[in-house]
């Protein structure tokens, strides 16, 4: 039915879908809340299971701004925890990356991510870059619990949603002003702050570059089957200390650093 629509018509349709979507029960406002509503609208309108928006930079996902539901917040975090996944490729290549069947996806491409996605009941992932001109902001990730292709019409409609996400972020930034970040985006980054603190600590503990410190944190989380956030909390609390050789150890209580 959407075949033959112009991009203006698709944009209007996406806007209409968001307008029809109720605001969140907690009544929160601002850029992050608007994007949560947008994720829920896209999920419903395109018959998906979930959706999430991540901000990204050269170092990978910098923070999850919004998701259709907290379940998908956790799944969105997989790419950050594991340091790989479709969103990394979509951001890097500036093109959508469509994984119709995660279980059948090329394991060499994202072995850890695919395994974790399957374990979490995710069957299809569609990652769309958020970009304007030469600038890149992040990614809109869409999920399905059943494997399946995103047909061309749906793909065009997702592009309309992705443009809308970009618009909301940019307008939010204009409102926030230079030096600040859009309202609510702060809070969405909150859970990551501990990870970045732990990254700084591990950098010193091991005397390695910052990016390597993140890789060590990720490896530790993966090996212990824990989230990156949990590992980071232990590092910040000095329950977990990394040593120059070996994976890290659990010191006896009160042994300090």
């Amino acid at each position: 039915m959407t075949d033959g629509w112009t991009s203006d018509e698709r944009a209007d349709w996406a806007r209409e879908q968001v307008a029809q979507e109720p605001v969140h029960a907690d009544g929160s406002l601002g850029t992050a809340a608007d994007l949560g509503r947008l994720c829920r609208a896209a999920t419903r309108a395109l018959h998906l299971s979930g959706a999430a928006v991540s901000l990204m930079n050269e170092g990978g996902p910098a923070g999850i701004v919004a998701s259709s539901d907290d379940v998908w917040m956790r799944i969105e975090e997989l790419a950050f925890i594991l340091g790989e996944g479709p969103c990394w490729d979509a951001f890097e290549s500036r093109r959508p990356v469509l994984v119709d069947d995660v279980a059948a996806a090329d394991e060499i491409r994202w072995p850890g991510y695919c395994r974790a996605a399957v374990e979490n009941g995710v069957s299809a992932v569609y990652a769309f870059p958020l970009k304007i001109g030469l600038a890149r902001l992040g990614v809109l990730d869409l999920y399905r619990r059943e494997p399946g292709e995103l047909n061309d019409d749906d793909r065009d409609l997702v592009l309309a949603f992705a443009d809308l996400v970009t618009t909301v972020l940019i307008d939010g930034q204009e409102e926030a002003g230079d030096g600040s970040i859009p309202s609510g985006v702060d809070g969405a980054l909150g859970s990551r702050f501990e990870v970045y603190q732990a990254q700084g600590m591990v950098m010193i503990q091991l005397g390695i570059p910052l990016s390597d410190a993140m890789a060590r944190l990720r490896a530790s989380a993966y090996a212990r089957d824990r989230t990156l956030g949990e590992v980071a909390r232990d590092v910040v609390a000095r329950v977990l200390v990394f040593e120059r050789e070996g994976e890290g150890r659990m010191p006896e209580k009160g042994s300090g650093t």
Binding site: A135, I170, E174, D178, D186, Y196, A198, G200, I204, V236
Partner: protein
């Protein structure tokens, strides 16, 4: 009967479209618009003015940049066919300069002195928004027929779409850079807090106090110092030893 060969018109539109997808340079694009517009209708000279944020027309580009031409465009920030066209949102076509002394007392005598007999101005307009005007001069009166006028307006319309798109993209790029910059500042401050906490064996909150005090005492920016600390902890011995 239109004087414009349709193949030539088509070429110009294709050239415009091409410029809009290639690496875009605003002034270069506007210069091309004026040059092609003047070539198409056999006009002696063409210029383009855009409204600044205060709504005052500013000269941007011309097919002919001699001093007396520049003056002719600049005076239209206050009075002249571009000003009328911008205010009304409608084209001024085949205005006879020799009888326009009352209408434009500053502009008309200068234009006549520069050797022109007629002037035209086309709005750069998308829906209700007028962002500027395309100005053409002729050495004879009544040279532009209605068909040609429609073609020039179409040219102005395409230029307008390109300009507005370029503005939207530029705004998006600037704001994205701000967002990424602000985000990276937050991140790097957390990383530096962690590094300092590890170095001093203190809590991250205490590390943040250290960092803030150091920045205040040395009148340095928080994110700049944080960035320096994580890049090379030894670079700030007062802070890291």
């Amino acid at each position: 009967m239109s004087a414009l060969p349709s193949a030539r018109v088509a070429d110009v539109f294709v050239e415009f479209a091409d410029t809009l997808v290639e690496e875009f340079d605003l002034i270069e694009f506007l210069q091309m618009v004026t040059t092609r517009a003047s070539e198409l209708v056999g006009s002696s000279a063409a210029g383009l003015l855009l409204a600044d944020p205060q709504g005052v027309l500013q000269f941007m580009a011309a097919s002919d940049e001699r001093a007396e031409m520049l003056e002719l465009f600049q005076v239209q920030a206050h009075e002249g066919p571009c000003q009328d066209c911008f205010n009304e949102g409608a084209a001024v076509v085949n205005a006879d300069l020799t009888t326009a002394q009352d209408r434009w007392p500053h502009f008309a005598p200068r234009a006549v002195a520069a050797g022109f007999a007629s002037v035209h101005a086309f709005p750069l307009r998308l829906r209700r928004e007028v962002i500027g005007a395309l100005n053409l001069f002729g050495s004879t009166v009544g040279q532009m027929d209605p068909e040609d006028a429609r073609t020039v307006q179409a040219l102005a319309d395409v230029a307008t779409i390109g300009l507005l798109q370029e503005r939207a993209v530029r705004r998006g790029e600037v704001l994205t850079e701000q967002l990424q910059g602000a985000l990276n500042s937050r991140i790097v401050i957390e990383q530096a807090k962690g590094a300092l906490a590890q170095i001093h064996g203190c809590s991250v909150d205490e590390a943040f106090d250290l960092l803030r005090r150091y920045c205040r005492d040395n009148r340095l920016g928080l994110s700049d110092v944080a960035r320096g600390v994580v890049a090379d902890p030894q670079a700030f011995p007062d802070l890291t030893s």
